[in-house]
Structures are given as structure tokens and as C-alpha cells.
């Protein structure tokens, strides 16, 4: 009886979807996971090197192609190594076993006598003149995985667990073409879309002459329904036309988000679907001490450094699309669904873009290019969004209100915990039924998907990390899934984990203070999971926590902890900062248990990045509305600068565990809450609304 195949391998059992041996001395690894700046391709190459016993340099890695690679859905949710890596390991273990079996037949011996060294088959440790490439012609990989190949033991890993240099970094450091933006196709024309302001808006008039004057060169209009684009050979001309068109196309039925809809508290009175999870409502709490506090976080932008880009060619009845989105297969399905082409007539290829941190404009830019390409058969189309377009039209991560209600026992510890959450959906990805933006302007626009959020089995969306990991007898979540929103909302790094961990870990600090217990000691007193205890203890040692100064001095320290999704990496963070009129981060310490780590330096890089991005969200970021999205460039949506970044120390523990735990999003929540707790410690007063702006600090200081 074989063990069940790891999920992605069960979905894509054919072994030739995972690996090929095309030329002597090289191994091609195919993966459905795509590079989005997280280093996943390097990690997958490391996994392959170990599982096949070949040098890392022999691995060519190819990713995200509907015509070649496994369908692994989205590269998201810190799941690539935790699930995709295990699937690749099993596929390659099966492949290695097939090669050893074939070698045994050729050599007239038992497979058990054989081993592999850098692709060479050894018998009793001696060369046999056979290798993967001499055998490749006689080993049939067009077969399904059986799961019978034995995966290497952790103790046998040589490449996994050793820091490896990122395979993609040299091109980026030397300025070689590295991104989809750098791609050209013969005869390619440039395109900019004149964006429909909202679903249902229609074009009233177009001043073509004015747009052509602004273009200062030859352009052509492409229109289908209310989808309007300008195209031309010269990118400058097309860019100018696209920018000017905003002022020369009049729209009807425009709905613009209003300033009054900007704050999270606007969500409280909106239509919502109630979704209760966890323990039943608590019995009469009379006689128990209660705690209640409400925390908020506004809308955030992904604010990717590169505006979204897509290329498409419709030729001989076949649509080919190049995209930097996180899931080529879901995008193909959405293009088929919303543009009315059979999926088997569409190929989607991944090409790297900048970091996306979730569902940004990538899918939509690809769809834009596809829509234009369908109107211009035979002409390769390149769409690159403008910076303003990226900020205004990318899906936002939703604002959230999180109310924590706790009942306390005699020792001041929580015996009953309710996390009540108001939030729109965190998932309008095309693969979840979300519409492609350009399709909404087509003559027969697709219907909006029914309301929903990421299933709990996948970690939840708004509910992600809404349940404390702490040992509390009764825990429940009540999610009000708000169904009307002023802007499209979807996935950003960690989804609801950041606001939920901010709320619950700030609440834990407030409870510790009420009980008169040190925040670290209080957490440990309600933590039974030994791995959780270990990261809390480790980070407090790294930061020499026990020298905590009194509150209200202007300098503060805060700690916070979470296990991402309550099933991925454990991370604890300590922040030291200074508050005057603004917050100045001084130092961040982080201890993380991500189980088996493939590329330790890569994991640390991800954790550091998560800390800095979360700090930027907490200190600076909120999408503003004012008769439209008023955060439209880097001045109206500032992010953390070099001079504002703290010193950061990250340590990984337990890295040789058997099981890897997703790491990319682990620090987002703990960093936010540790900053909140440190600010409270510095001020001697609590701020429960994000971002922690100068105005909020001044208001708090005036009140205290």
C-alpha cells in the first residue's frame, strides 16, 4: 500500500511534467511555482539537486507554462516549499528509482547495489559508464508517479539546507533583460488602455483629435464595447496618448469611492454575510472580568515597483499570452471564461515581473493584451500599465475592523476569546471567479462572482489567524463578510493575518498589562505548543528582553508572536523604537521556526522583507479616497525609505525538521503587532488604528 501522493503530484502525476534530461549533463526541472522575488526557483533547483544527486549547476529550471509545467494553481500563501517542494521531491524520488531500476537491468545487478553521484550511476561506489543521460532514452517518464521512490532522509541532504545564491540575481545586478517588461516580439506594438472607471460605466464621447494631438505621433484606437485602447509602434507616443486620454474620454455611470468610505469603520454598517467559526457562543459571562477593544486597518495597495505588463498574440486561431501573474493555469481558465475562447486554444507563459505580494494588476494587464490581440490578429501586443493606473486599478487589500472580546479568569488570563471581524473578501483572483478588469468593459461583461472568501481549509481570508494559538478554553471567530465595497479587494501578503494578529497580539499585551505581568511571561503562561514557546524564548534572548524599561519614556519595546495560518511557520518579533512626533524604528529581532529550510539565506531574506513591508504598512500606508482613489503615485502613497529602515536580526531555529513550513508571510502579523505594542510602551498609551500616523500619535499624546 503506497502512501498517497503529495497534492500537487496527485494533480499532475505524469513524471515528464516535472523533469526532463534533454542534453547530456543537464537536467530540466519543470515547476508550476513561479518566481515573484521570493527565490522559489533557486529553492526548487536545490531540492532537485539533492533528490536526484546531481550538482546544482546542472539544473535548468523552467516554470509556469500551461504547455509544459505542472498545474500547481497559484504561487501564493507561502505554500510553494511546504507543498510544491514536497511534490517535486516525491516526483524526483520516483524518477531516480526508475533510473536505478533501468541501470540495474543494463548492468545485470540489483538496484540496491547502485547509487548516484552527480548523475553518474555507481556500483559499489565505482563508476559504471552509465549515467542519467545514457539511460534517458530507455527510461519512460511518460508514466504516472507511484510514490514508491524513497525520498531522501533529511540527514542525507547536501544542497537542501545550505544557503545557495539566487539563480536569477546576476541578470538583475548586471542589467540584463530579466523581466516581462524587457521582452520584445517581432512586429510588436505598444498599447495603453483607457480604463473604464468602474463596472457599468460606459463611454459617452471620445475626443480622438485631442488624444492624437497629445500623442504627437501615429496612434490607432482599438475599441470593443467600452474597452478602449490606443496602440502604436512608438511607446512614447502611446504612453502620451494613454495619459492624455483620461481627460478626453467622457464616461457615463461613474461611481467613485468617496472620502467617507475610506476608513475601516465604514464597513460596520454595510450589508454582510455572517460567518461564525469555532466555539459556540459563551454562556452567561456574569461575574467574569471582561476585556473588549477594537482595532482597525485601512485599505492597502500592493504598490509593486514595476507597473503591470502583459503581452499577447492571437494568430491562426490560437491566443498566446505572456504574464507575470501568480497562476498561469487559473489565468488561462479565466481568459477562456471571460473572453469566450476555448482553453485549449490558449497558452499562457510566465515571465518574471517585480515583486507582487499578492493579486496586483498582473492578471488584468495580461487580459488587456489578450483583448487587444483578439481585435488585431497577427499583431503582438504589449500592454504596460501606467503608474497611476497601477495604483488606482490594482485590487486593494481590504480595510478591516477587528473587535476582540475576552473573558478573564481569576489570574487575568483569557478563558474565552471572540474575534469579531468586519472585512470584504480577500480573494477576487481570477481562479476564485474574480473578473478580469478589462472584461468588464466588453460588450457582454461577465457577471460578478458570488460573495465568498478563502476557505478555512486554505487558511481563510479575513479569518486568517483570527484564532489565537494560545491555550484558551473557548475560542471563536465571527466574520461579517462585507459584500459592498468602494473598490475591488483581493489578496495581499498574509491576507487577514496582519490585522488579526495586530488585534489579538495587541490585546494580549493589554491583558498582560492589566494583569501586571511582563508581556513575554504572560504569553509563555498561556502557550503550550513547544515550538511557539521556543521562538518566543529565542527572540526575547536575542533582544535581551528582561531589561525592559518603564512605559511612557518615548522609547519602547514590544513583542508579538504568531504561527502563520496556525499551520505554517512560527515567528516571534521584538521591536525597539522611539516616538517623538513620528515613529523611528531602531531595531527588530525575529526568531522563526519554519521547519526544514531549503535555502536559509533565502528564507532570512524573505523574513527580513516581510518585516520591512509590514513596518511600512503600519507606519505609512493607507489608500486614500477622495472622489476616486486619491493614492495614485509614490508621493500620495509613500512607503518606507532606506533612511527609515531599522537594523534587523533574524534567526532560524529547528531548520532540519522533516517538514517545511511556509515562511514568506510569517512576519507580517507579528511585526505589525510588535510595533503597536512598542508604540504603546513608548507612549504609555495605546493606538488601535493603523497606520500609526503622526496625526494619530499627536492625538494620543494630547489625550494622555
Amino acid at each position: 500500500m503506497n502512501a498517497p501522493l503529495p497534492g500537487p503530484l496527485a494533480d499532475n502525476p505524469r513524471l515528464d511534467r516535472w523533469v526532463a534530461f534533454p542534453t547530456p549533463g543537464t537536467v530540466t526541472i519543470l515547476t508550476g511555482r513561479v518566481e515573484i522575488g521570493q527565490g522559489v526557483l533557486t529553492a526548487m533547483a536545490q531540492i532537485a539537486a539533492d533528490e536526484l544527486d546531481v550538482a546544482l549547476e546542472r539544473i535548468d529550471i523552467y516554470s509556469g507554462d500551461t504547455e509544459a509545467t505542472p498545474n500547481e494553481g497559484y504561487t501564493a500563501g507561502s505554500q510553494s516549499i511546504q507543498f510544491g517542494g514536497v511534490a517535486l521531491r516525491q516526483a524526483l524520488a520516483d524518477v531516480r528509482a526508475l533510473f536505478l531500476s533501468q541501470a540495474a537491468q543494463v548492468l545485470g545487478c540489483e538496484a540496491g547495489e547502485l547509487s548516484v553521484h552527480d548523475g553518474q550511476i555507481l556500483r559499489g561506489g565505482a563508476p559504471t559508464a552509465q549515467d542519467y543521460w545514457t539511460l534517458a532514452g530507455s527510461v519512460n517518464l511518460a508514466v504516472d508517479a507511484t510514490g514508491t521512490g524513497r525520498r531522501k532522509a533529511v540527514s542525507a541532504f547536501k544542497t537542501i539546507g545550505a544557503s545557495a545564491a539566487r539563480l536569477d540575481l546576476p541578470n538583475k545586478v548586471f542589467g540584463a533583460p530579466a523581466f516581462i517588461h524587457d521582452m520584445t516580439l517581432p512586429g510588436m506594438v505598444h498599447a495603453r488602455v483607457v480604463r473604464q472607471p468602474n463596472r457599468g460605466a460606459s463611454i459617452a464621447s471620445i475626443d480622438e483629435a485631442a488624444i492624437k494631438r497629445a500623442a504627437k505621433g501615429a496612434i490607432e484606437f482599438v475599441r470593443t464595447g467600452d474597452f478602449l485602447a490606443v496602440i502604436g509602434d512608438d511607446e512614447t507616443t502611446v504612453e502620451w496618448a494613454g495619459a492624455a486620454a483620461n481627460n478626453h474620454v467622457a464616461w457615463q455611470n461613474v461611481e467613485a469611492p468617496a472620502a467617507s468610505q475610506q476608513e475601516a469603520t465604514w464597513l460596520l454598517q454595510r450589508p454582510a454575510i455572517d460567518r461564525p467559526f469555532g466555539a459556540p457562543a459563551s454562556a452567561d459571562p456574569q461575574g467574569k472580568e471582561r476585556f473588549e477593544a477594537t482595532y482597525t486597518r485601512g485599505y492597502l495597495a500592493h504598490a509593486s515597483i514595476s507597473p503591470s505588463c502583459g503581452l499577447a498574440l492571437f494568430k491562426d486561431g490560437r491566443l498566446t499570452v505572456w504574464t507575470h501573474c501568480q497562476g498561469v493555469f487559473p489565468l488561462r481558465a479565466a481568459l477562456a471564461r471571460e473572453l469566450g475562447i476555448a482553453a485549449d486554444k490558449i497558452s499562457v507563459h510566465h515571465v518574471q515581473g517585480s515583486g507582487c505580494y499578492g493579486h496586483n494588476g498582473a492578471d488584468d494587464a495580461a487580459a488587456d493584451a489578450a483583448i487587444i490581440a483578439l481585435q488585431k490578429p497577427g499583431v503582438p501586443i504589449r500592454v504596460r500599465w501606467r503608474r497611476e493606473e497601477e495604483f488606482v486599478f490594482e485590487p486593494k487589500t481590504p480595510a478591516m475592523v477587528v473587535k476582540v472580546r475576552a473573558l478573564l479568569d481569576e489570574s487575568g488570563k483569557p478563558s474565552d476569546w471572540t474575534q469579531e471581524i468586519w472585512s470584504p473578501t480577500h480573494n477576487l483572483r481570477p481562479g476564485a471567479g474574480g473578473n478580469l478588469l478589462g472584461a468588464l468593459a466588453l460588450p457582454n461583461p461577465p457577471a460578478a462572482p458570488p460573495p465568498g472568501d478563502v476557505p478555512e481549509a486554505n487558511g481563510g481570508g479575513a479569518t486568517r489567524n483570527g484564532e489565537p494559538l494560545y491555550a484558551i478554553p473557548a475560542k471563536r471567530i465571527l466574520h461579517h463578510l462585507v459584500t459592498e465595497t468602494p473598490v475591488r479587494t483581493s489578496a495581499l501578503r498574509g491576507l487577514g493575518a496582519m490585522p488579526n494578529v495586530f488585534a489579538l497580539e495587541c490585546a494580549i499585551d493589554e491583558l498582560a498589562e492589566r494583569a501586571g505581568i511582563d508581556p513575554v511571561a504572560y504569553r509563555l503562561s498561556i502557550t503550550s505548543d513547544p515550538r511557539a514557546r521556543a521562538v518566543i524564548e529565542k527572540v526575547s534572548a536575542m533582544a535581551t528582553w528582561d531589561a525592559q524599561a518603564p512605559a511612557g519614556t518615548g522609547v519602547g519595546r514590544g513583542i508579538a508572536f504568531a504561527r502563520y495560518k496556525n499551520k505554517a511557520a512560527y515567528s516571534a518579533v521584538v521591536v525597539e523604537l522611539q516616538v517623538e512626533e513620528e515613529i523611528r524604528l531602531r531595531h527588530v529581532w525575529c526568531a522563526t521556526d519554519a521547519g526544514l529550510v531549503v535555502n536559509p539565506d533565502g528564507a532570512i531574506n524573505q523574513l527580513e522583507g516581510g518585516i520591512i513591508q509590514s513596518a511600512s504598512w503600519v507606519l505609512k500606508e493607507q489608500v486614500r479616497f477622495d472622489s476616486g482613489v486619491a493614492s495614485f503615485d509614490w508621493e500620495t502613497y509613500p512607503v518606507l525609505k532606506f533612511s527609515e529602515v531599522p537594523e534587523i536580526d533574524v534567526e532560524l531555529i529547528n531548520t532540519r525538521d522533516e517538514v517545511p513550513l511556509g515562511v514568506g508571510e510569517a512576519t507580517a502579523g507579528p511585526t505589525a503587532a510588535a510595533i503597536g505594542n512598542a508604540v504603546s510602551h513608548a507612549l504609555g498609551a495605546r493606538i488601535r488604528d493603523l497606520p500609526l500616523t503622526r496625526e494619530r500619535i499627536m492625538a494620543t499624546l494630547l489625550q494622555s
Binding site: 538583475k172 505621433g217 514595476s306 515583486g355
Partner: protein, 161 residues
């Protein structure tokens, strides 16, 4: 009628013929000269992805009209070094694994080059100040600043020997 513009890019004289003298330098570099290393980020001179050196000074070129560089010397990321002969900054960025998605790195390395040309021993605060015109969204800031410090030390050591 196309106009011609002459300037130097990475030490080589170039002549380009363009219909519009206000064509941004970045589009000339990328689309006319095929130098894709200068990345487009905003077109607003805000993010620094498109940083180049113009007569040695760091400048964002996404909104810089081509006529304004006529007769001048432009250095792009491609002009710093190659995989075979990396600039000390490029080697240090690889050594420190200073990047995640890497989209901002061309502009950051060019900004750092301008800093080290004028200040061979910058403090961490001076490095941060010199890079504040460049946005990194992935959070690789500390690695990047470490790489600049390391490159500065390598360049100083090379100057002494």
C-alpha cells in the same frame, strides 16, 4: 521629420533619430538602443528604477527629454560591469544576495556608484540618504546597504594597492 541627437552611452558615441525631441531618455535607451537594464517604474521621477549617470551625476531618466542629454555622457547599469568583469558594487550585491525581485537594483546600483565616486567612505546614514530616492518594495534595504559598504571597502583597498 526626425531629428538626430548625439550623446555618449557607456563610453560609446551614439546618434539616434527621433520624431520627438521630448522622448524620455529611458525609452531611447530601452527601445532604440536595446539597453533594457534601465527599468521603468513610474515615469514621474519618484521611484529611482531608471537612475542613470549623466556626466557623472545620478539622474532619473523616465521623464528626462532626450534633447537635454545631447552632447552629454550617459552611464547605465550595463556600463558598470559585466559578469566577467563585475564592478565591485555588482560583485558585492551578489555576495550579499542583496535583492529579492531585483527590479529596483539597476537604479540602486547606479545611485550607489554616484555616491562612492564622490564619497569613498560613506557612513550607513550617508548610504541611506543617497538611496532615499530609490524605492525598494521587497524590503532588501539592509542587505543593499551592507553591499554598498562592502563595495566601498573593496574600492578603497584597490585604490591603496
Amino acid at each position: 521629420m526626425p531629428q538626430t541627437f548625439q550623446f555618449t552611452v557607456n563610453g560609446k558615441a551614439v546618434t539616434v533619430a527621433l520624431d520627438n525631441e521630448e522622448t524620455p531618455l529611458i525609452n531611447v535607451l530601452r527601445n532604440e538602443l536595446g539597453l533594457m537594464g534601465t527599468r521603468f517604474g513610474c515615469g514621474l521621477e519618484q521611484c529611482g528604477c531608471c537612475m542613470v549617470l549623466i556626466d557623472g551625476a545620478p539622474e532619473k531618466c523616465c521623464a528626462k527629454p532626450v534633447y537635454s542629454v545631447a552632447g552629454k555622457s550617459v552611464t547605465t547599469i550595463e556600463g558598470l560591469g559585466t559578469p566577467e568583469r563585475p564592478h565591485p558594487l555588482q560583485q558585492a550585491f551578489l555576495d550579499e544576495q542583496a535583492g529579492q525581485c531585483g527590479y529596483c537594483l539597476s537604479g540602486i546600483i547606479v545611485s550607489a556608484k554616484a555616491l562612492l565616486d564622490s564619497n569613498p567612505s560613506p557612513t550607513r546614514a550617508e548610504i541611506a540618504a543617497a538611496l532615499d530616492g530609490n524605492i525598494c518594495r521587497c524590503g532588501s534595504h539592509n542587505r543593499i546597504m551592507r553591499a554598498v559598504e562592502k563595495a566601498a571597502a573593496v574600492i578603497r583597498a584597490g585604490a591603496q594597492s
